[in-house]
Symmetry: C2
Subunit: 93 residues, 2 copies
DNA sequence: TAAACATTTAGATAGTTATCTAAATATCTA
DNA sequence: TAGATATTTAGATAACTATCTAAATGTTTA
């Protein structure tokens, strides 16, 4: 769940679109899947990467797995980017 | 020079460290190279990717190539990330 | 102008990753 | 409980990428 994992997770357009979708609210895998032309297996792979990066949380609800956006990790990235722009010193890379 | 190229460029730790270095001011390839344990050829590859992503600019000064941080592209990314956090609608993905 | 220096380009290789199909696991419902 | 539904895991493949060495290009200096 470090910086590197977060950036890698964000570097794929499908995964960024998943995050965009989840802004509207939590969704099951099937609901997310409707917005893409990939198999469920591929989507599951992307969700796994986003989860390990801490960008989404999951919760099993009966037969469905519900995914929710988690924006806390984004703060670290925002912080780093602001420091690039602002010029303040910052350790993480 | 789209969103995708920027994120891909940022997803490599060497490239992020290059950006960190350039916060202190413009540098030649040789100066940047001192901070890494890779060959000049590999560094040149990374610089090329950062340049195509619009994250750095270059300028030839005699026998040296000087690279400079360009933070304008970061604004788009910051905007997108803020919208993920804030929940406002935003098109780019 | 020849040699030295700075950087990039070409070509190769090993590791990573996005995707697929098929199979496994888990849950619900008839 | 058997079958249907939802999601994940396993295994394979093609594409991509970070790195290297070697060679090419461009610039300065002796």
């Amino acid at each position: 769940m470090g910086f590197q994992e977060s950036f890698k997770a964000l570097s794929d357009p499908t995964r960024r679109e998943i995050l965009n979708l989840l802004r509207a609210g939590s969704m099951s895998v099937g609901e997310i899947l409707e917005h893409f032309s990939i198999t469920g297996a591929s989507l599951s792979h992307h969700l796994s990467i986003l989860k390990h990066a801490g960008l989404i949380d999951d919760e099993k609800q009966g037969k469905y797995m519900i995914y929710t956006l988690n924006t806390t990790v984004l703060d670290d990235i925002l912080n780093w980017m602001m420091s690039l722009k602002g010029g303040e010193h910052h350790e993480e890379s």
